[in-house]
Subunit: 205 residues, 2 copies
C-alpha cells in the first residue's frame, strides 16, 4: 500500500511559495527577504536558493499561481450561454483571489517596476483579460441582456471593471482599519453598480 | 526700489520640495534619498536636514501641497448652483493634481504603511472629500439633474468616483507604456461614464 502522506506532502518549491505568500501578505513583500522565508520554514538559505535564485523568482512563482487561479475563474461554463450570474461569480472569484494574494495588488507598482519579466507577463494577461471582458459584454448586448453600446462605452465599462477588479482592495486599505475578507463582497457590489444601468434583462434574478 | 528677484525667489524649503517632487516622480520615492535631493540642489546634506529631518517629513510637506491643491480644486463656485460641468472641471483638476504629484499615488500603499501621521491625514482628507462628493450628488438629485438614488447607490457611486480618482494613473501605469499627461483626460471620461446613466438633465451641454 502506498504511503498517502508521501503522495500529499507538498514539495519544497510549493512550501517555499506558501511561506513566502503568508509573509508577503502580512508584512509587505519589500519587508520580507529570502532569509526570512527560509527561517520561517526552518530551512537553510542555501536550500532555498537551490529552488529560487532570489525573491523576484519567488514573486514570479506566486504570479504563476495567480494566473492559474484567474484562468480557472474566468473560464466560461461549457455548453451554456453566460449570464450576469456568470459575471457575478467571476467577480466574487476575482476578489477571493485578490484577497488570497493581497500583497501582489498592494505592491503592484513597485513589483512591476522592479521586474520587467513580471511586468510583461502581467500586461499580456491583463490585455487578454480585458479583451475577454469586452467579448462577454458584447455577448450580453447581442443576447438582449444589456443595452447595445458603442465601442468606446464597452471599452470604458471594461476599464472601470478592471480598475475596481485590481484596485478595490488597495483603495479599501488606503481608507484605514483592518481589511477583512468580507470587504471583498463590496467589490462585487461595485461591479454590479457599474453594470446595473446597462442591464435590460437579468436572467440571474 | 525693492529688488523683485528677492521677493520671487522661492525659499529653501520650497526649493527642497520642488527638487524632491521631480526626483520622486522620476524614480519612485523609495529610490530617492535625502542625499540625492541635496545633491540635485547642490546643497549640503546638513543644510537639507536643517529644513527637513528626514524623507518622511519631505513627503508630508508635499502632501500638504496636494491637500492645498485639492482644497482649491474642490471649492464650490460661490453664488451659483453646481452643475455637471462643475464636476467635470473638478475631475479634470483632480487628474492634473494626480499627474503633478504622481509619485504619491504610485507609492500610496507603501507611503501610508510607513508613516502613521501621513496615513491619518490622508484618511481624514479622504473621508471628508467623500462626504462632500455625496453631498454634491444629493444636490444634483434634489435639483432634478440626476435620478433620485438611495443611500447605498450614492455611497457606491462615490466609492467608484474616488477609486477612479485616486487610482486611474496607477491602473494606467500598470498597463505599461509611457504614461502621458493626456492620459488623464481618459480619467475624466471614466468619471462621466460612472455618472452618465444617472444623469437626467445635463445643463452643461
Amino acid at each position: 500500500m502506498a504511503d498517502p502522506k508521501a503522495e500529499t506532502k507538498p514539495d519544497t518549491k510549493s512550501r517555499i511559495l506558501d511561506a513566502a505568500l503568508a509573509l508577503f501578505n502580512e508584512r509587505g513583500s519589500a519587508n520580507v527577504s529570502t532569509n526570512h522565508i527560509a527561517e520561517a520554514l526552518g530551512m537553510s538559505p542555501g536550500n532555498l536558493y537551490y529552488h529560487f535564485r532570489n525573491r523576484a523568482e519567488i514573486v514570479r512563482g506566486l504570479f504563476q499561481r495567480i494566473m492559474a487561479a484567474w484562468a480557472a475563474n474566468y473560464a466560461l461554463p461549457a455548453g451554456k450561454a453566460p449570464t450576469f450570474r456568470t459575471m457575478d461569480t467571476m467577480a466574487a472569484g476575482n476578489f477571493d483571489i485578490q484577497w488570497q494574494y493581497r500583497f501582489f495588488f498592494r505592491d503592484l507598482t513597485m513589483l512591476l517596476a522592479a521586474d520587467a519579466d513580471l511586468a510583461a507577463q502581467y500586461r499580456t494577461n491583463r490585455d487578454s483579460g480585458m479583451a475577454n471582458t469586452q467579448a462577454l459584454l458584447r455577448h450580453f448586448a447581442s443576447a438582449g441582456l444589456m443595452a447595445p453600446a458603442d465601442k468606446r462605452t464597452l471599452e470604458e465599462i471594461t476599464q472601470l471593471l478592471w480598475l475596481v477588479g485590481d484596485f478595490w482592495l488597495v483603495f479599501r486599505d488606503a481608507g484605514g482599519g483592518e481589511p477583512a475578507e468580507a470587504d471583498m463582497d463590496q467589490g462585487v457590489r461595485l461591479f454590479r453598480r457599474i453594470l446595473a444601468p446597462h442591464i435590460i434583462r437579468d436572467k440571474s434574478k
